[in-house]
């Protein structure tokens, strides 16, 4: 593939710095939510756990290290403007950025080849980094979302196609069952992402996209927004607390994304993000100046 190697190098340097910073610093909205929850949790093990979490965030920042050892399998959600001038450079720059960040952050080696069952040792593997593409008509910007999902918070992930008469209550039941079993081990308080659509793969993908929305944001559809609040309130009544040790709250929030469904199916997907929700979003202009959307005021 022919591409501008100079521009690709510049872009990969920027994206590598972006990944390295994200590995050690939680986004502004997650930090704010955690400190709000720490103020509410004043009984049992919860205050001690929140203290260790706070100390960990401070140490990661001070020592410039990944805050959690599980830096996830590299996965990008790209929204590329159709007028962005370097479309050919995006994929090689992302791959190069992962290699550099693996060495520099450093990231854990997390790409294990399926069937051949060996760790590639540099986070590059078959179809990894996984890149999810979206084209944005008329835009000249490149938006990259990165989310370090560890194994622990990926284990509760699921998708299932319900029959419509099972209703939205059926979706809630599956979410609640998963959160009181797998969710307990997934480093709560989690952010819960739910996708609702006509088939399993669309619902699953939307559940992950829901986790890319800020904590505390709402779905623009008023009914969906209410479902987010109702499920969040219901989950909080269970009181998983930090680390599953019990407490007054369970989750950081619930985000729902939907796509129109088939008349005969009501598919749901669930993804969860641990409290150390290392989500990062950058918006890059054609001259490679950028806005670090999730980490305001940070210069890379």
């Amino acid at each position: 593939m022919a591409y501008d190697t100079v521009k690709c190098e510049e872009l990969s340097e920027l994206l590598s710095a972006f990944i390295c910073h994200a590995s050690g610093h939680l986004p502004d909205d997650v930090k704010a939510k955690l400190s709000e929850l720490a103020g509410i949790e004043d009984e049992g093990f919860a205050p001690a756990i929140y203290n260790v979490m706070k100390k960990n965030m401070e140490l990661a920042d001070e020592l410039g290290r990944p805050s959690c050892q599980d830096t996830g399998i590299p996965q990008f959600f790209v929204r590329a403007g159709t007028k962005w001038p370097y479309l050919d450079e995006i994929e090689p720059a992302l791959i190069e950025a992962v290699k550099k960040a693996t060495d520099r952050a450093p990231l854990r080696h997390n790409a294990v080849e399926v069937f051949d069952e060996y760790n590639t040792g540099n986070n590059i593997g078959h179809r990894v980094p996984w890149i999810d593409w979206e084209l944005v008509s008329g835009s000249d910007r490149l938006e990259v979302y990165f989310y370090m999902a560890g194994g622990g918070c990926s284990l509760p992930g699921m998708a299932k196609v319900l029959m419509p008469l099972e209703g939205y209550d059926g979706i809630a039941r599956l979410v609640f069952d998963q959160m009181t079993s797998y969710g307990v081990n997934a480093c709560p308080p989690c952010l819960v992402g739910i996708g609702i659509a006509g088939s399993a793969e669309v619902a699953a993908k939307l559940s992950k996209k829901a986790l890319l929305r800020p904590v505390g944001s709402h779905n623009p559809n008023p009914k969906a927004a209410k479902m987010e609040d109702d499920i969040c309130e219901g989950l909080n009544k269970i009181g998983l607390g930090p680390g599953g040790f019990g407490g007054k709250m369970s989750v950081m929030g619930v985000n729902i994304e939907q796509a129109a469904r088939h008349p005969a199916t009501l598919a749901m997907g669930l993804s969860t993000a641990c409290w150390a929700h290392r989500r990062a979003q950058i918006s890059i202009a054609p001259d490679l100046t950028y806005e670090f959307v999730t980490h305001k005021g940070v210069t890379l």
Partner: protein
């Protein structure tokens, strides 16, 4: 944590040490901690391979660290938090019997097989707060070496020397107590009530 006891232990641990602790107690550990997770349990229990490290009286840490090579045979821990212990549930009881490990360190709970394994082998399962990997790394004073490095960075057995390693909250004791399973019973009761209260609120179908 004021209702519970805090212990400072040094490896090798004895049955007498383990018998002192109960679920909810907190341990700070000094001495030998070795990492081992899915692949190590698979090799030891399913493949019946000889364990390359003497683990008797020591701690097994369910963790896949980020390590940095600082010279030909020397490594430094960058970040090392606990991983989900439940993944090792099918193999842990047998692992305890084969190795003589006294403390399992991980996150989240483990199930009935491990609980029985802790009774039979006088051992405990403890939880290091999840996601707090830099705090844990700063409590590691030395990396003695690595075994089964062919498994790759997260799955290899890293031999760590730790000092005041914790807080390790005891979630399974040697008397059959299981803190997280007890919590789950409570969580499931509250779940049914919460779902009952949701009824009627999500009736979007026509």
């Amino acid at each position: 944590m004021s209702d519970f006891h805090t212990f400072e232990f040094t490896t090798p641990l004895t049955d007498e040490d383990i018998k002192k602790v109960h679920i909810g107690d907190v341990i700070y550990l000094t001495g030998d901690v070795v990492t081992g997770r899915d692949d190590v349990h698979h090799r030891v229990v399913k493949d019946n391979r000889e364990v390359p490290v003497d683990l008797a009286g020591k701690a097994i840490f369910h963790a896949g660290p980020i390590m940095k090579k600082i010279s030909d045979d020397k490594f430094k821990v960058v970040s090392v938090g606990p991983t989900t212990s439940m993944r090792m549930e099918s193999a842990e009881a047998e692992f305890l019997a084969k190795t003589g490990v006294k403390i399992i360190i991980g996150k989240g709970g483990m199930g009935p097989k491990t609980t029985q394994g802790c009774i039979d082998n006088c051992a405990v399962h403890t939880i290091f707060p999840g996601g707090c990997a830099v705090v844990a790394a700063e409590e590691v004073v030395d990396v003695e070496g690595v075994e089964w490095a062919d498994l790759g960075m997260p799955e290899a057995m890293w031999k760590l020397k730790v000092k005041g390693f914790g807080p390790l909250i005891v979630s399974i004791d040697s008397y059959g107590g299981n803190l997280i399973e007890d919590n789950k019973v409570l969580f499931n009761q509250r779940k049914e009530k919460a779902l009952e209260e949701l009824k009627g609120k999500l009736d979007f179908l026509h």
